[in-house]
């Protein structure tokens, strides 16, 4: 009988395996680490998980991580309320925020449409975003979904969904990363960079 078939430890491994990016071997290694480690230290992890689940929710307006009803950006009166930047995950939101170059509001989809995996508009609650436009006061929606097939599908879908509201809809430009030679860019990246070119 393998170690991973046994009661309490097996239960921990099963829970760890459910985390994204954690395979069975890694889960086993983490479980053994937690088993060997000091009780206080291990329980700090459990406490942190509990604190996050008890104290954090998703913002009722933009679905970013929030400590109360609304997230820090939706609560901030200094933000530009006429702009919404749409991202797939909160991690992208914080990456944009670190640049300091954007002062509008956000909308977090917590996912992306996928014709390959059958992830549809209801799964990313596209309706919530549409409802924000229905309420009015929005001039521009900036789509910052990933340059993957899922992000692409999401951007096309949302553009069609939101176009009737007559707001400006833009997609962040993507293309050649700063600091590389253009000759090394691959075909799709080059096409997209050309499409996203702008007048000087």
């Amino acid at each position: 009988m393998g170690i991973d078939n046994q009661g309490l430890l097996a239960q921990l491994i099963r829970e760890l395996v459910r985390l994204p990016g954690i395979g069975h071997k890694t889960a086993q290694r983490l479980a053994f680490y937690l088993l060997k480690t000091e009780k206080d230290e291990a329980l700090r992890l459990a406490d942190a998980i509990r604190a996050v689940k008890d104290g954090l929710t998703f913002c009722s307006q933009c679905r970013n991580i929030a400590e109360g009803e609304l997230c820090e950006f939706c609560r901030d009166p200094k933000r530009d309320r006429t702009k919404i930047l749409v991202v797939e995950e909160p991690s992208t939101l914080y990456a944009v925020e670190r640049t300091g170059g954007y002062r509008g509001l956000y909308h977090v989809l917590l996912g992306a449409l996928s014709p390959l995996d059958g992830v549809g508009p209801a799964d990313i609650r596209a309706q919530d975003l549409e409802d924000r436009l229905k309420q009015g006061g929005i001039d521009e929606v900036i789509l910052a979904t990933n340059p993957t097939i899922e992000g692409e599908a999401t951007a096309i879908y949302l553009t069609r969904l939101l176009r009737p509201y007559g707001v400006r809809i833009s997609r962040i430009a993507y293309g050649i990363p700063v600091g590389v030679d253009i000759e090394y860019a691959d075909e799709v990246t080059l096409i997209k960079s050309l499409e996203g070119r702008r007048d000087l």
Partner: protein, 252 residues
């Protein structure tokens, strides 16, 4: 470890670990295979967009003994099929073909004809042919290349080639059935008119280059779509997202 090289089409790609991807390909030389691309999600990586779904490329990989997962060392794009990325009907139809190939093939089982058929289907889609019809045609063709070829010459249930056929398609039996068999299994058969039967036979028999001349509208299209949908569900044991997944009126 041995270094391998093969033409390949990306069926799907998913995030793995911190910065990696696990990519499923259908390859010319080795059939379906899965490989890990280390660092594929980093800004500067050697794969670029070569691991995005539907991309046709030349794949370099290592086979590790005792591991079903290959290590992808490089990929050069032959055709990016960028035209399948900027239109939802085309994207969903391409996804349907890729999903079907992924679902009906086993890893490491090479069928060059499946590779060629899928590649053909993607080209036809990109050329602007009706996406849902292309998906329908190429699903029939792809099934025809596997052990799941829909039976049209004799009864798919009892094998009788001389009795009267019922004008019914049985998803469970995998083809057209005779009158007695259709009666026995009435609830689970789908009607298939003479026109639909002819379309099905031609779609199976004709070369990919000719097959796009086949047209199906109205009742014939509805019957064939219903039959293929049910049959694919029986064959794959799951509900694949339909070819009009993100473009149906109901979802817009």
């Amino acid at each position: 470890m041995s270094l391998l090289k093969t033409p390949a089409i990306v069926l799907k790609s998913r995030k793995w670990g911190e910065a990696d991807r696990i990519v499923t390909f259908y390859t010319l030389r080795f059939g379906k295979l899965r490989g890990v691309a280390r660092g594929a999600r980093r800004l500067r990586n050697r794969f670029g967009s070569a691991l995005e779904p539907f991309v046709h490329g030349e794949l370099n990989l290592f086979e590790k003994r005792g591991d079903s997962l290959y290590r992808i060392t490089g990929a050069d794009i032959r055709d990016s099929f960028a035209g399948l990325r900027d239109d939802l009907p085309r994207m969903s139809s391409a996804a349907r073909m890729a999903n079907l190939v992924g679902a009906v093939t086993g890893e490491g089982d090479a069928h060059p004809s499946i590779f060629e058929t899928l590649l053909n289907g993607l080209h036809v889609l990109q050329s602007g042919h009706d996406p849902a019809l292309t998906a329908l045609l190429f699903q029939i063709k792809l099934l025809g290349e596997t052990g799941f070829r829909p039976q049209t010459d004799h009864c798919a249930a009892c094998g009788d080639g001389h009795g009267r056929m019922a004008g019914q398609f049985s998803p469970l039996a995998g083809g057209l059935v005779c009158l007695p068999c259709a009666r026995r299994d009435r609830d689970r058969c789908l009607p298939m008119s003479a026109g639909s039967q002819a379309f099905l036979q031609q779609a199976l028999r004709w070369a990919p280059a000719a097959v796009t001349r086949l047209k199906a509208t109205g009742q014939i299209r509805d019957e064939l779509e219903a039959a293929v949908e049910s049959y694919v569900m029986v064959v794959t044991g799951k509900h694949l997202p339909p070819a009009d997944f993100l473009s149906r009126p109901a979802t817009l």
